[in-house]
């Protein structure tokens, strides 16, 4: 909705062009090295997030992981997604998470009961998901290079145009879904008269507002 | 008439803005001396010529911060065959201003008008013992005591003036009467 006006120019249908002739699969340019390093940091932060015994530390490491992801998006020229990542995840979701933690119980130091005991299962699922993703993504893109002539595929212009010209229907369907979630949250909070539900409503509305 | 919504908020803004354009009331003290009202309780001065060492002030002081020492002297009889009189002589009179709470009771109870308020207030010290002002210093403060403020117009005459006038009038009347009889 907010981007309807922004979607002015024509969509670049060809988001990426093959230029494998001049570049190898991994030729160490500055951007690639930066991408790898940030990736390592993001990965490390993510691992600490799920292994640390200190709840609030986990939430803050999550900030690092999500921020790292935003930087990766930036390096892939997806500027719009990067800022949305920061706005929604770092700015709102993590704040909400911390809010919830502080409201309930977040002692300074270790919480021994923070471990759910599902470690092997979680590890298996994580590895399977990671394996699938890596396989699919490398298989799909291989040595594809982003064409930097003209507006890059991830820029606000192109994203807006494709979102509101080619993908309007899914977009609106998603908004209806979010609206339903919002209404549901309000109904739940009315009936139960619990404050917790209104917090859920806040996030929903945040996501709605920034979409 | 119902007030316009938000008019109170606007009024508040107007008040602060108007205050900003006016001259501020702060007196930058060390640069300009404050304009103190008469009877300001700054420091206590001792008019030691009036003191009879009656000890009333020291006894009434709630903080016991007045120290008085004295001795008796005999004054030879003024007339031959008369009796020798004894007289109190002041040796020490000190007020410890680190204890004084400026209640002014000593000044109120003094029957001989030996203690006065002075508006001087700049006598801070770096050593607390220096806040005990001895007799000389207390006498010095007397020079800073302002003249008593004038009475309100139409106020009752001061007691001592009224008494003096009464006596003077009586005397005048007594002197006038015989003259009248003569003429």
């Amino acid at each position: 909705m907010t981007l309807a006006a922004a979607a002015g120019t024509a969509a670049h249908a060809t988001t990426t062009t093959a230029a494998a002739g001049t570049h190898g699969f991994l030729s160490p340019t500055g951007v690639e090295i930066a991408f790898l390093l940030v990736g390592l940091v993001t990965f490390g932060a993510a691992v600490i997030t799920v292994t640390t015994r200190q709840l609030v530390h986990a939430a803050l490491w999550l900030v690092v992981a999500l921020g790292g992801l935003a930087v990766e998006y930036l390096l892939l020229t997806a500027e719009f997604i990067a800022w949305v990542q920061v706005l929604i995840y770092v700015g709102s979701v993590v704040v909400l998470l911390l809010f919830g933690l502080m409201l309930t119980r977040a002692p300074i130091g270790r919480s021994p009961d923070a471990d759910s005991g599902n470690r092997p299962v979680a590890l298996a699922v994580a590895l399977a998901a990671a394996g699938t993703l890596v396989w699919v993504v490398t298989d799909a893109f291989r040595t594809t290079w982003i064409d930097l002539d003209g507006a890059p595929a991830g820029s606000t212009d192109v994203t807006g145009a494709s979102l509101f010209q080619h993908w309007v229907l899914p977009f609106e369907a998603l908004s209806v879904l979010l609206l339903a979630a919002l209404v549901g949250a309000i109904v739940l909070s009315r009936k139960a008269k619990a404050d917790a539900a209104s917090d859920a409503a806040d996030t929903r509305r945040d996501t709605e507002g920034t979409r | 008439m119902a007030p316009i919504p938000g008019s109170g908020l606007a009024k508040g803004l107007a008040v602060t803005l108007r205050t900003m354009t006016k001259k501020s009331v702060t007196a930058p003290y060390p640069d300009t001396q404050p304009d103190l009202p008469p009877r300001t309780r700054g420091v206590i001065g001792l008019f030691e010529e009036n003191c009879t060492v009656c000890m009333l002030c020291a006894r009434e002081c709630p903080d016991w911060c007045i120290y008085i020492d004295s001795h008796k002297e005999t004054v030879p009889a003024a007339t031959p065959g008369g009796r020798d009189r004894s007289r109190n002589v002041l040796d020490r009179f000190a007020i410890d201003f680190s204890l004084c709470m400026y209640c002014g009771i000593c000044i109120e109870v003094c029957p001989f008008d030996a203690l006065f308020w002075s508006p001087e207030f700049e006598y801070a010290e770096t050593d607390i013992r220096d806040l005990t002002h001895e007799r000389d210093k207390l006498r010095e403060w007397m020079w800073t005591v302002p003249a008593p403020p004038a009475l309100d117009p139409g106020a009752e005459e001061p007691k001592e003036l009224a008494a003096a006038r009464k006596t003077a009038d009586k005397l005048a009347a007594a002197q006038a009467e015989p003259q009248e009889g003569e003429s």
Partner: protein, 322 residues
């Protein structure tokens, strides 16, 4: 080499602005607040009307001992001021003060998004400080900060979206290029909502419940001393500069003015920003603090509907008249 020099110069200028403008706002606050209360304010530091008071304050802060409470989470406690301060520095990079490439730190395609996203990160600093201090007042302050941010972020985003709709772009420079004088009455509701919501995000009076000194001492910053405390204060004043600059750029037409827009555009921007900063101070002096529930109610029942109405108005005008 020239590019490197150019980037370095821009960063340096932004950094200098970041260090001086908050101090200017702070000193103005000292003096304006004093005179609004019939006082004189600082008069001695520096000789002329106490102009160096904040420098003296800075020296004082630097001399103080850096205390970390025994029960606190050391690392997070020490990191919090930086997290609170850095976002404003980043935001300052993207605010254009004049027309053309030369008057903005870095031209960003999604400027509005960048600015709002990064400003939202700053609150993490307060949350970290509130939690890591091991102090119940700090925790309460952190909680209030989070609650306030969650409710005031929405109207801010919605009104910014309204301007983006009007201009047809989310780039700050693009919005200013598209600006016409009649946007002022058109977007006035949005401007007011944006400014008020921004004040609440900065926790400035009358929205300073998270740091209400009469209730919770100083909220999340209770345990801080010395330089770290000074950094939090600097973040607050940098936030004022950023908010006023943003309001100027989004709603008041930035470098556009009745005359002299060609060479003196930056003067207009600075002038408007300064006037807004004065308003921030003025509001602080005039109004008492709002209660916590009033704060929430104000946002959800007044600001959000108003900003939605503004979006509707923008859409209608955009479709019907343009």
């Amino acid at each position: 080499m020239n590019d490197v020099l150019d980037v370095a110069l821009r960063l340096l200028v932004v950094f200098v602005v970041f260090l001086t403008f908050p101090l200017i706002v702070g000193q103005t606050e000292h003096k304006v607040m004093a005179h609004m209360q019939g006082r004189l304010g600082p008069m001695y530091a520096g000789g002329f009307h106490g102009w160096a008071q904040l420098i003296a304050d800075g020296v004082k802060f630097a001399q103080k001992e850096d205390v970390v409470p025994a029960g606190a989470d050391r690392r997070i406690f020490q990191l919090a001021p930086a997290v609170a301060l850095l976002p404003y520095l980043l935001v300052l990079l993207a605010i254009p003060i004049g027309p053309g490439e030369g008057a903005v730190g870095q031209v960003l395609d999604a400027g509005v998004f960048f600015v709002l996203a990064v400003m939202g990160v700053g609150v993490l600093g307060s949350l970290m400080a509130g939690w890591a201090s091991a102090n119940k007042f700090s925790l309460l302050g952190g909680l209030r900060t989070a609650a306030q941010l969650l409710s005031y972020e929405l109207p801010m985003l919605l009104t910014a979206a309204s301007v983006a709709m009007a201009a047809g772009t989310v780039s700050l420079v693009g919005i200013l290029d598209a600006f016409e004088w009649w946007w002022l009455p058109w977007q006035i509701t949005g401007a007011l909502v944006f400014f008020i919501a921004g004040l609440a995000e900065l926790q400035r009076p009358p929205f300073d419940m998270p740091v209400a000194d009469s209730e919770i001492i100083f909220g999340a910053y209770t345990e801080y001393t010395g330089l770290r405390f000074a950094l939090f204060l600097l973040a607050e004043y940098a936030g004022i500069v950023v908010l006023c600059g943003l309001t100027t750029v989004l709603f008041l037409g930035g470098w556009h003015g009745p005359w002299g827009a060609d060479g003196l555009g930056w003067v207009w921007t600075l002038l408007k920003t300064a006037v807004l900063a004065f308003v921030v101070i003025w509001l602080r002096v005039t109004y008492p603090r709002m209660r916590e529930d009033q704060l929430q109610k104000f946002s959800w029942t007044l600001l959000v509907p108003l900003s939605l109405a503004q979006i509707a108005l923008t859409g209608v005008v955009k479709v019907v008249f343009l």
